[in-house]
Amino acid sequence: MNKITNFIITDIIKNKIIIIYTVILALFSWSVLSLEDNMAKAMLSLLNIILLAVPLMAVIFSTIYMYNSSEFIELLVSQPIKRKTIWLSHFAGLSISLSIAFILGIGLPIVVYSPDAAGFSILLMGLFITPIFIAIAMLCSILARDKARGIGIAIMVWLFLSLIYDGIVLYLMFQFADYPIEKPMVIMSALNPIDLARIMVLLKVDVSALMGYTGAIFKQIFGSQIGWIISMGLLLIWIVTPMWISLLKFKNKDL
């Protein structure tokens, strides 16, 4: 497994896109953190960009990479290598290289400017969001044989989780404003990895007081030790489930 993972990492690093990604992340985080005096505000801007750009990059890059890797996968399947190893190596290779890009681009400036709980929670969430969307991308690439269709599905999933889902939540919130909706609200937010990551960071930035009553409920639930553990568990499930389904599909795929 290590050999294939190594090979994939070197292949991705040779790819110029990942370098551009790192540079853009770095440019953005250095400028936001050095220009903004209020660290909490700077963190919020950074958070918004990360929650938009990182999943998008992870999902599109990985989907395209998986399609372009189809020859390589075919070659490996004809060799004495377990299919599981081939698939997990791709996941590991993509996760490691995109995470390295994220750490270099975002992690470095954060460690310099804001090495506190908020900073590290942003880093941690980035390192969760990246593999989650890689796993989703790998699932999309195995669900559709056609490349254009696979990429289309991947973008739709990203669009749904990062924009449409929030829209639905907001809509429901206004519709049922007269009812005690805090609990369902918490559950709905917890089911979307991007929303969950946002809440986890917001609680550490300590602006949850600005979010009103719902914010207080969030703080009460997610701020506790158990809430933190449950959130991590939910994020892990978001990695494992798409990965596991795609692995089952790959094991039964005809090449």
Binding site: K3, F7, S70, E71, F72, E74, L75, P80
Partner: protein
């Protein structure tokens, strides 16, 4: 060595393999022939578990291949159309497969030398012509001196000189008592290679006979003519 029992495979509605039963032994050099889309490549890919049959079992050395991959250490496979990572050079592909297979013995680089791939080794796979890609595929198939060679249209796209080199290599390996399975449309090329012939049509085995049997039945001295004769007489 390889036993195929009741293999069935369909892609969507079309049944590609309909209950295939075969027993392939060491020392045989088998020509797998038949019209286009008769299921030859699917059968070969099933043996390599690249295609997973809907029903039936394939045994390699008495062991079922389902869920196993170690048996592929003993197989050299040359695909009909070799597809390789585009950005890798020839030598990178070869080295990668070598390191993945963790092969202890001496690698067989005869074809590498004979095809003159040494001069082209830094060329990227995407820049190669179809013929050169086939040469790489052939080199990879023979590289680890496997007990079983599965060659899917080995000479398609090769120039006459290269296909002659490959032919001689196949004959040499056959003399070592290996099991060789070749598919080809060009029957003339196979004439003095084969010991057995499998004829497939519409996903079924029409016959599996030794070349001697075939020639004796048809009275023709050449396999290609004997097969043609047999098919015609069977149709009547």
């Amino acid at each position: 060595m390889i036993r195929i029992e009741g293999i069935k495979k369909s892609f969507g509605k079309s049944e590609v393999l309909k209950d295939i039963n075969l027993q392939l032994k060491r020392g045989q050099c088998i020509g797998l022939i038949g019209p286009n889309a008769c299921g030859k490549t699917t059968l070969i890919k099933s043996i390599l578990s690249m295609v997973l049959p809907n029903d039936g079992t394939i045994y390699f050395d008495q062991k079922s291949i389902a869920g196993d991959e170690t048996y592929k250490n003993k197989i050299g496979y040359m695909p009909q159309i070799g597809r390789y990572p585009e950005n890798m050079s020839i030598i990178q592909v070869i080295d990668m497969i070598k390191s993945i297979r963790q092969f202890d013995g001496q690698t067989d680089e005869e074809l590498w030398d004979a095809f003159g791939l040494e001069q082209a080794k830094h060329k990227k796979m995407r820049t190669l012509s179809g013929g050169t890609t086939q040469k790489v595929s052939a080199t990879l198939a023979f590289l680890f001196s496997p007990d079983v060679l599965i060659l899917d249209e080995p000479t398609a796209g090769l120039d006459p000189l290269a296909s002659e080199i490959l032919r001689e290599k196949i004959i040499m390996e056959r003399q070592k008592g290996k099991l060789i399975l070749i598919t080809s449309h060009l029957l003339n090329e196979l004439d003095d290679l084969l010991t057995d012939v499998i004829y497939m049509q519409d996903g079924k085995i029409v016959f599996f006979k030794t070349t001697d049997e075939l020639m004796a039945m048809s009275g023709h001295g050449r396999i290609s003519k004997a097969i043609g004769h047999y098919i015609k007489s069977a149709a009547v």
